[in-house]
């Protein structure tokens, strides 16, 4: 394992210390390091709180700030945070308008956030993100995984929260964005969890994992590495086929091409070019595009493609100003 670290036990706290020091104008570390909140919390609005296992930076702490989250709870690497973290965060940033949890759909995350919600004494609601089309949604599964689409949900709902929307409105908006969002990922290499010290899985020199999860979970199938155009085409096909079931077969979308941490920008833009031209040929309008490392899997080489079907109202929320460590505009 080749990583910049001192020891695995301290990896998270030392990394977090660097993060809050570098972004002290935007974020602050909560008591006991249980959560990261805005440097200047605003209890007059609904508080958006997310969190999950670490190793996906900038998600979630990198999306804390004006126009997006109010707090984020970092779990151990790839392990959901514990209820006391979310409870402390909710008590710190939640006010009368209530608290909205944004949770990626994994058993662990769901249960831990659920316990926190049971313990929290104020108004609370939860939006579950489940955008990964790689996993079929059947009686066999606990539903689809939540992956890169989470950033889009956090951005859009964050803008609406900043605009003073009510908890009910935000919950409904979040559910609507989730319903309009689909993702699929592909890995060229495994990631290595610091505490594990060895790669989570192994791929041959000419293999890739199509449909990989953001923790290195196996995907749909292991296949031979092929051209960027073919890879992007297969991902777009899966996404488009899935969203078609909900009646979306074209129209304006946000396209997110997300790197998993080990893939350089040059390759991500190339994949964006492949996805963009493919989607355009299928009748989608590329209303907005965003490319970069936003929801990573430690040092995994690979990327995901996400689309969210939008209308003018959602686009206005997407375009609204945001000032976080990981996303800045407006």
């Amino acid at each position: 394992m080749k990583k910049f670290m001192n020891d695995a036990e301290q990896f998270l706290s030392e990394s977090l210390a660097g993060f809050v020091a570098v972004h002290a104008d935007v974020v602050a570390l909560g008591e006991g390091g249980l959560y990261v909140s805005r440097a200047a919390p605003n209890k007059a609005k609904v508080a958006l709180i997310s969190g999950g296992g670490s190793g996906h930076e900038p998600l979630h702490a990198g999306f804390v700030g004006t126009g997006m989250l109010d707090a984020a709870c970092p779990g151990q690497v790839f392990t959901s945070p514990t209820p006391d973290q979310m409870l402390a965060a909710a008590n710190a940033v939640g006010g009368a308008p209530g608290v909205l949890f944004i949770v990626k759909n994994y058993s662990g995350d769901c249960m831990n956030f659920e316990m926190a919600a049971e313990l929290y004494e104020g108004k609370i609601a939860t939006v579950l993100v489940n955008d990964d089309v790689a996993v079929e949604d059947s009686t066999w599964t606990t539903g689809r995984r939540g992956v890169a689409g989470t950033m889009i949900v956090e951005k859009i709902v964050g803008a609406a929260a900043e605009a003073g929307k009510s908890l009910d409105e935000l919950k409904a908006l979040g559910d609507r964005v989730v319903a309009a969002t689909r993702s699929m990922g592909v890995a060229l290499t495994s990631c290595t969890v610091p505490a594990a010290g060895k790669p989570t899985f192994t791929l041959g020199e000419d293999e890739m994992e199509m449909g990989v999860g953001i923790h290195g979970e196996p995907g749909r199938r292991r296949v031979k590495l092929t051209s960027a155009k073919t890879i992007a085409g297969e991902m777009v096909e899966a996404i488009v086929a899935d969203i078609a079931k909900s009646g979306v077969t074209g129209g304006p979308i946000i396209l997110l091409v997300n790197g998993f941490g080990g893939t350089p920008a040059g390759e991500l833009y190339l994949m964006a070019e492949m996805a963009r031209t493919d989607l355009a040929a299928r009748g989608f309008t590329l209303a907005r595009m965003i490319v970069g490392n936003y929801i990573t899997s430690l040092d995994m080489a690979g990327c995901s493609i996400t689309i969210t079907a939008v209308d003018d109202a959602l686009l206005a929320l997407w375009d609204a100003p945001v000032k976080t460590a990981g996303l800045v505009w407006g």
Partner: protein, 219 residues
């Protein structure tokens, strides 16, 4: 304690402390096995999660030593919830919290212990929205609960240990051919078949350690 002691005076905090030590030791010993199992069909953190959680429980030993068994179980549950994370944290945490609640101020004999375990299993099921056959820790816990209930108030310690361990081992082994429909492994679909569930294995380890601590003849 022996089962006779338990029947007469109830579970003591000393016996519980000894059991905690045994569980911590076995979890620490098997952490990398649990992690490997979780790498195959999950995200490879189950051993680390359990190790972190039970080391924290051991860290609370002084506090626990001064508590009643019921309060000690509550401390264990809360500690696990606050340190394990992942799916297993809330589940094992809920198990111990529910067991604590089920004591209801009674001395803990084998009958009460069986009631407690059943309550704990019930809590896992409601927290996990899960039931037998979904390739989870419940595959181990449910038959162990049944075996303890079936043993009755005056079971022979050696026979009970054997019965509980056998139920646990069979339960964990039974997960291998199952297809997961709960937890992270469910995302794998067919590919989850052929691997042992890490949570079922950690439950087996815990059951074994507790039996040895409670029922093994003092050295």
């Amino acid at each position: 304690m022996s089962s006779t002691d338990a029947a007469q005076t109830g579970l003591t905090i000393e016996a519980l402390t000894k059991a905690i030590d045994a569980v911590v030791a076995t979890i620490v010993d098997h952490a990398s096995e649990l992690t490997d199992l979780d790498m195959a069909i999950g995200d490879g953190d189950h051993g680390l999660n359990m190790k972190r959680g039970f080391e924290a429980v051991r860290g609370a030993a002084a506090k626990i030593a001064a508590q009643t068994p019921a309060d000690a179980l509550k401390t264990i549950g809360t500690t696990l919830i606050m340190t394990v994370g992942g799916a297993s944290g809330p589940l094992y945490g809920s198990l111990f919290l529910a067991m604590s609640k089920a004591v209801a101020d009674r001395p803990i004999d084998l009958v009460v212990a069986a009631e407690m375990l059943e309550a704990g299993i019930q809590a896992v099921q409601s927290r996990g929205k899960s039931h037998a056959g979904e390739k989870t820790m419940l595959e181990t816990l449910i038959p162990v609960g049944a075996a303890l209930t079936a043993a009755g108030p005056a079971a022979d310690p050696a026979a009970l240990t054997a019965a509980l361990k056998a139920a646990a081992a069979a339960g964990a082994a039974s997960t291998v051919p199952l297809r997961a429909s709960k937890g992270r492994a469910s995302f794998l679909g067919e590919r989850s078949i052929g691997h042992m569930d890490p949570g079922a294995r950690s439950s087996e380890l815990m059951v074994g350690a507790v039996c040895d601590a409670f029922f093994a003849p003092a050295p």
